[in-house]
Point group: C2
Chain length 439, copies 2
C-alpha cells in the first residue's frame, strides 16, 4: 500500500475558507467519563491506602512486581550508571543540551524572577518577594515514547528556580528502563526517582505516601489518565497545564528550501496522528513545491504511516493574500510552535501576538528548540497560548507581597481604607485602620 | 444571649499540640456532587443556546426580567453616573485607592513583566516576548456581599498589563445595583459590564454568546457555583484560582497594642464563619491580653455573631517557644495574610517562606493592604501559597519564547539535536536539524 500525505489545500480567497478552516482546526478535548471515574477511584485509594495501593496498581498496570515501594526507587548510583553506560556522543549531547537549557533559564530568572521593593515618600515599603517551591514532582512518560529531553525541560527550570527537592516518577512497564531517561535525570539533578506512573503516581505525589514525599506542584506530560489525575488534584497541589496534541504552524514567504519546510511539518506530524502541521504562504507555487517534497520525502521516513495520517487528517497548506494575512490567521490559531520561515522574520514577529514559541528564520528548525536551543519545549497547545506561557522558572517560584506601612503612611492610608471598609459594611476592617491613626 | 469568641488556646509544648493543631487547620474543599451536576448542565445549556439560556437563568436565579441580553448591559454612562452619585469622601477614597493599586502594579510590570532577549556568541538570539491577553472577564460577586475593592484589584492589574478589553459581570439580584461597585468599574476602566452572575455568567464569558464576547481568562471570586464553573471551563479559558475561606496569621512578639491585634483578628473573622484567624506568640501574658481585648471589643462589633463563631470554631491563640518556632509554624500553614507584628519585623521576614502577603510591623494592619496600600488583595488561600502567588500583572500577560538560530548556530545545535532525536526515535526531528548543516 502506498502511503499518501495529503494536507488540505485551502485558500483564504475561497468562499468556503472560513468553514473549511474551522473544520480543520476543530479538536475536542472531551473527556471520557469512564476514565474520569477510574481515575477518581485510584486517587481515593492511594489517598487512603498509600504505598500499598501504589504497589498494587503498579503491578496491575505496569506488570511490575515489588516487595515494597522502596524497591521502586531508583538510586542516584543507578542514574549515574545509566549515564556512564551511554555512547560518548549521547553523553555529550545530553550535557550540551542541559548546559544550554540551564543558561537560558538562568537568564529568564534574572529577567523576571527576582524579588523587588521600593519605598514611598512617607517611608512605606512595597514589594514582592520571590521564593522557590520547596518540592516538586515531575511526571515523565515511559513505555513506547520515552523522552529524555522532557526530563531536562522539566527538571532544569525547577533546579534553576532553587527548588529544594525534585521528585521524578517514570513508569517502567514490565521493568524496562530507558537508559537515556535515567541519564537525563542524572544530568538534570533530579533528587529522587520512582518507577511508578499513571494516576497512581500523580496521587502519590499529590497526597504523599510513607515512601513518596508529598510535593507542592506536579509538572510534565502524560496520557489521558495522567491528565485527568492532574486536573483532579489541582488545588491540592499546583499543576503546569493539560497538554493537547502537538502543533506547528509555518509562516513562509517562499525563501526557505521547500524540503526544509516539508521536514519541519513532518517533525510535528511524526509525534502523533492527532498532531497538527499547517503551512501559510502567499505563494501558490511554493505550496506546490512543499507538497512535492512531502511526496518525495515521505517514503524515506521510518514513521511514515503516522506522518501520512496526521498530515491528511489534520494538516493544511493555506494560500494567503499576503504575509500580513498569514500573521492574522496565525494569531487566530495561537499555535504551540510558530516558525517564521522568512528572509525578514523581524518584519513579521511584531505582528505575532499569540504563540508558545516563535522560531525566526530559515535556520531555526523547530527541532533545534525541542532539544537544545535553550528555551523550554513544554508549551501551551490547542490555542491556549492565548492565555498561557511556556514552562519556565516562574512555574517553580511563587511570590509573596511585602508591605510595611510607616507610621506616617498609616495616617493617610488608614483614612482611605476606613472609608471604603465602611462602604462595604466591614467595620472591623475600618476600625483596625482607625486604631493606627493618631488620636 | 451573650456572644463568646473563644479561639482555641494551644501551646507547642503540649503533648497534644500536633493533633490539636491539625484539627484546627483542617478544612475540606470537598465539592458537592449536586452542585457539580447543576453547573455542568448550565454550562452545556449556555454553550448551546447562548443568550437565551443566560437570560432564562438570570430570570430564575436573580429574579431579573429582561427582554434581551442587551438590556442586561450597563452603559459607560451608567457607571459614570454611579461614580458621580457617591459622596465626595467615597469618590476620593476610590480614586486614591485606585491610584496606589495602579502604581504598585506598574512597578510589578517593570520588575518582572517586560520582554527580554540576548544573543549568543554565534549570533543566535534567545529571549521571551511578553504580551497582554486580548480580552479578560472579571467576576464580581453581587447581592449581600458587594466588594468594590475587588473590582479595583481585578481590573487594575489587567489594565496595567495592557489587556485590550475588560468585561465585568456582576449579578444584581432583583435588579438591585450597588453604586460603589459600578463606580469602581468606572474608576478601574472596565470596558463593558453585564448584570449577570453565577455559572451562567462564567459560561457566557468562557464560550461567548451573541452579546457577551468570549474572553481568554476569567478572574475573581464567587460562590460554590462560580468556583465549580471556573474549574470546569479551565483549559477553554484561563482562570486565576479557586479561593477558599479567608485567613490571617499574626506573628507577635508582644510589642503591638493588644487591641490592635484583636481587631486585626476580627477583621478576618468578620468575613465569614469559615474564616480563620490565628495568633502565634512566645509570650503567654500577651495572649491573655489579646483575649481580654477580644472579649471587650466583641460586643461593639456590628458583625459580632459571625466573628464569635469564626473565632470559636476556627481561631487559635498559640503559645510558641520563641519567634523562630512561630515562623516555622507559619511556614507550615502558608497563610493568605501574614502579619509580623513585631518591633523588628525584618529580623523575621527572611525566615518566612510561604505566604500570600506579608504585613510588616505594627502599623501595617491587614485592612490597609485590603484596600489601598497597593499590592493585590486577591491572594492564595488554604495553604496554596506554597505554590501560588497573589493576583498580578503576570496573570494578565503571557510569554512566547523567541529563538533565532544563526547559520553558525545551526551547525553546533543541529548535531546535538540530531543525536538526541535519533535517541528518542524521532527521525524527522533529526533530519530537520541535519538539513540545516552545511554539506
Amino acid at each position: 500500500m502506498t502511503l499518501v500525505a495529503a494536507p488540505a489545500r485551502l485558500s483564504t480567497q475561497s468562499a468556503t475558507f472560513e468553514a473549511d478552516f474551522q473544520a480543520r482546526l476543530h479538536w475536542s478535548a472531551d473527556t471520557d467519563a469512564a476514565i474520569e471515574q477510574r481515575v477518581a477511584d485510584i486517587l481515593a485509594d492511594v489517598q487512603h491506602r498509600g504505598d500499598a495501593a501504589v504497589l498494587a496498581y503498579t503491578q496491575r498496570f505496569d506488570g511490575l512486581e515489588a516487595a515494597d515501594m522502596s524497591a521502586l526507587e531508583l538510586s542516584q548510583a543507578e542514574l549515574k550508571a545509566a549515564f556512564d553506560s551511554l555512547p560518548e556522543a549521547q553523553r555529550q549531547a545530553l550535557e550540551q543540551a542541559a548546559r544550554r537549557v540551564r543558561s537560558y533559564h538562568e537568564a529568564q530568572k534574572k529577567a523576571s524572577g527576582e524579588s523587588w521593593s521600593y519605598r514611598d515618600e512617607d517611608g512605606t515599603l512595597l514589594g514582592q518577594k520571590v521564593t522557590p517551591l520547596d518540592r516538586v514532582g515531575i511526571y515523565v512518560p515511559g513505555g513506547k515514547a520515552a523522552y529524555p529531553s522532557s526530563v531536562l525541560m522539566n527538571a532544569i527550570p525547577a533546579h534553576v528556580a532553587g527548588v529544594g527537592e525534585i521528585i521524578m516518577v517514570v513508569p517502567t512497564p514490565k521493568g524496562e528502563k530507558n537508559a537515556l531517561v535515567l541519564a537525563a535525570a542524572y544530568v538534570a539533578g533530579v533528587s529522587r526517582a520512582f518507577t511508578i506512573g499513571g494516576a497512581q503516581a500523580v496521587a502519590a505525589l499529590a497526597y504523599g505516601t510513607a515512601t513518596v514525599p508529598k510535593v507542592d506542584k506536579i509538572t510534565g506530560p502524560g496520557n489521558a489518565y495522567v491528565a485527568s489525575a492532574k486536573k483532579r488534584v489541582f488545588g491540592t497541589v499546583g499543576i503546569d497545564m493539560i497538554a493537547g496534541p502537538s502543533e506547528i504552524l509555518v509562516l513562509a514567504d517562499g525563501s526557505t528550501p521547500a524540503d526544509w519546510v516539508a521536514m519541519d511539518l513532518f517533525s510535528q506530524a511524526e509525534h502523533d496522528e492527532l498532531a497538527q502541521s499547517i503551512l501559510l504562504c502567499p505563494d501558490a507555487a511554493y505550496l506546490d513545491a512543499v507538497q512535492r517534497e512531502i511526496d518525495r520525502l515521505l517514503p524515506t521516513m521510518p514513521r511514515a504511516a503516522i506522518i501520512a495520517k496526521s498530515l491528511s487528517d489534520r494538516g493544511a497548506l493555506i494560500l494567503t493574500r499576503d504575509m500580513e494575512e498569514a500573521c492574522a490567521i496565525s494569531n487566530r490559531i495561537a499555535p504551540e510552535h510558530l516558525e517564521v520561515s522568512s528572509r525578514d522574520p523581524h518584519r513579521w514577529e511584531p505582528l505575532l501576538k499569540h504563540a508558545g514559541a516563535i522560531f525566526l528564520g530559515a535556520f531555526t528548525s523547530e527541532s533545534l528548540g525541542d532539544y537544545c536551543a535553550g528555551p523550554n519545549h513544554v508549551l501551551p497547545t490547542s490555542g491556549t497560548a492565548r492565555f498561557s506561557s511556556p514552562l519556565g522558572v516562574y512555574d517553580f517560584q511563587k511570590r509573596s507581597s511585602l508591605i510595611e506601612v510607616s507610621e506616617a503612611g498609616a495616617q493617610t492610608l488608614g483614612r482611605i481604607a476606613a472609608e471604603l471598609a465602611y462602604g462595604e459594611g466591614l467595620q472591623a476592617h475600618a476600625q483596625a485602620a482607625e486604631m493606627r491613626l493618631k488620636r
